[in-house]
């Protein structure tokens, strides 16, 4: 940071160009989204062998599936022959294999090249070497995480550690048994804003009392502007008379059995850089994944996860979903309100962070450190 604010209360944000510049976004795609662990899909989205999803990770299209043993697999969605996009659908079920529609190069669910016209006449072709290019995969919390780097960073030190940093330990999240919860509702938001605006928004609660009346009603301490993410291990307590984490404070759903007395009637929020937000409440978990598509566009996929029995019995989760759906809409509206102004001359040097937002500065330093040297004329804050 080269700009010195004259008011000690304030520290600088990133400059406006960090949110609009194509070169900055390209560097983030390469150095962040293609280099870090990226939460790509819910494990249950892939129901069995050949069930697939395609997702955008950085600049690449990634094909997610399960092999015949049911293990999650991820590949670059590119035919090794002439480069045709192998799967163009967002999701589906491949029956036997992935076959390129161009020349019928055919790959099994482990990515191996199993057939191609006249392949038997070319016995020198190594079927693994010319199989689909493989991407590292981890399954954790019932999600499929991928890393496009040839040598991924430690999952413990980059993903699990983010949870420990927030909650104090891993047991605190294990109590919610996120892996075995069922998707009660999924909403996908197409947000016309840079991904960093969304992260920053999620990290602070200075805006809560202004734009989240329903949330502040349920979590009165949010009115002081300090987010649940500010203090390690602290969960915001439900207000007196609030029965559950619902839009009107009415009774929630069945409590997750592992949730401790200390965790009951509390809300915990976790940011796993670069693109995951997790919210824990006693009866459900709200799990956000961001898919940055362009400097000014981010797709956010949000799951509301409940005990399987709650989902199977068809219980009404509407009041429960509605609370955070409103929060999401309020937040994304705010982010979309900021995006156009990022290119204003007034914001060329960026804006400021008040003390309850100062921890966002660490996120900015993390981003700048990751992309250092990758942007030819990198703007500095």
């Amino acid at each position: 940071m080269t700009v010195t604010e004259t008011s000690p209360s304030l520290i600088a944000t990133l400059p406006g160009t960090a949110y609009t510049d194509e070169a900055v976004f390209a560097a983030e795609q390469e150095r962040i989204f293609e280099a870090q662990w990226f939460c790509a899909a819910r494990s249950s989205d892939l129901t069995g062998p050949g069930s697939f999803r395609t997702v955008q990770v950085g600049r690449e299209s990634v094909l997610l599936t399960r092999n015949r043993k049911g293990e999650a697999r991820a590949f670059f969605n590119v035919c090794r022959h002439r480069g045709a996009r192998l799967c163009t659908e967002e999701s589906g079920e491949a029956k036997r294999s992935f076959q390129c529609p161009y020349h019928a190069w055919t790959y099994d669910f482990d990515g191996k090249l199993v057939a191609a016209p006249n392949l038997t006449k070319m016995p020198d072709i190594d079927r693994v070497e010319y199989g689909l290019a493989t991407i590292s995969v981890q399954e954790w919390l019932g999600y499929i995480w991928v890393c496009l780097a040839p040598e991924p960073p430690s999952f413990d030190e980059t993903v699990r550690s983010a949870v420990v940093e927030r909650l104090g330990d891993l047991e605190s999240i294990e109590a919610y048994d996120v892996e075995h919860l069922a998707v009660g509702r999924r909403i996908v938001y197409d947000v016309k804003a840079n991904w960093k605006l969304i992260v920053e928004n999620f990290m602070e609660c200075y805006h809560c009392a202004t734009i989240h009346p329903e949330l502040t009603e349920v979590l009165p301490e949010f009115a002081d502007g300090y987010a649940a993410q500010y203090f390690v291990g602290h969960g915001a307590e439900f207000g007196d008379g609030v029965k559950g984490f619902t839009v009107d404070g009415s009774e929630g759903l069945e409590r997750i059995p592992g949730v401790s007395e200390d965790q009951d009637r509390r809300y915990y929020a976790i940011t796993v850089k670069p693109q995951v937000f997790i919210n824990l409440v006693p009866d459900h978990v709200i799990f956000h994944r961001m898919y940055p598509m362009a400097a000014d566009r981010t797709v956010v996929e949000c799951d509301w996860l409940y005990l399987p029995g709650v989902v199977e019995s068809g219980k009404d989760v509407a009041a429960s979903v509605e609370l955070f759906h409103r929060v999401n809409q309020q937040d994304f509206d705010a982010c979309e309100r900021c995006q156009p102004a990022m290119s204003s001359r007034v914001y060329a040097r960026g804006g400021v962070l008040v003390p309850s937002e100062h921890h966002i500065g660490e996120f900015h330093e993390w981003v700048q450190d990751k992309i250092a040297g990758a942007v030819p004329s990198a703007p500095t804050a």
């Binding site: 055919t106 199993v114 057939a115 016209p117 038997t120």
Partner: protein, 122 residues
């Protein structure tokens, strides 16, 4: 008789391509039966050993033609001609194949050694 491999080294559900002229494919079904057919699909050059084995049926990995391993008959197009079958013997835990004397039904462009290939590059 062509010795193939010990039965124990070909797990149920697996297939093996055996280099012969033309190559043959040996299948060990989930039910424990062993079958042998010409490895090359009669529709286009592709290895049936790389196909999808289900019951006594093999599906070609390239265009999903299906053949009955017991008779070689086509169960699903685009293949039109049956695939030649070979007799299998399992003796002392070892798989042997007795190669058929019938004419193989090979796809365009594929021939046995010593014969001119029919068809050619586009």
């Amino acid at each position: 008789m062509l010795p193939v491999c010990p039965l124990s080294s070909l797990a149920p559900g697996e297939a093996l391509r055996v280099e012969a002229d033309p190559p043959i494919a040996v299948f060990h079904t989930e039910d424990g039966e062993v079958f042998a057919v010409d490895d090359t699909c009669t529709h286009q050059d592709a290895s049936l050993a790389d196909g999808w084995l289900e019951g006594c049926e093999i599906e070609c990995p390239l265009h999903a033609s299906r053949f009955d391993l017991r008779t070689g008959q086509v169960d699903a197009p685009p293949a039109k001609k049956p695939v030649r079958t070979h007799r299998v013997l399992v003796e002392d835990g070892h798989i042997f194949v007795e190669l058929s004397a019938d004419e193989p039904n090979l796809p365009p462009g594929v021939s046995v050694a010593g014969q001119a290939a029919t068809g050619g590059p586009l």
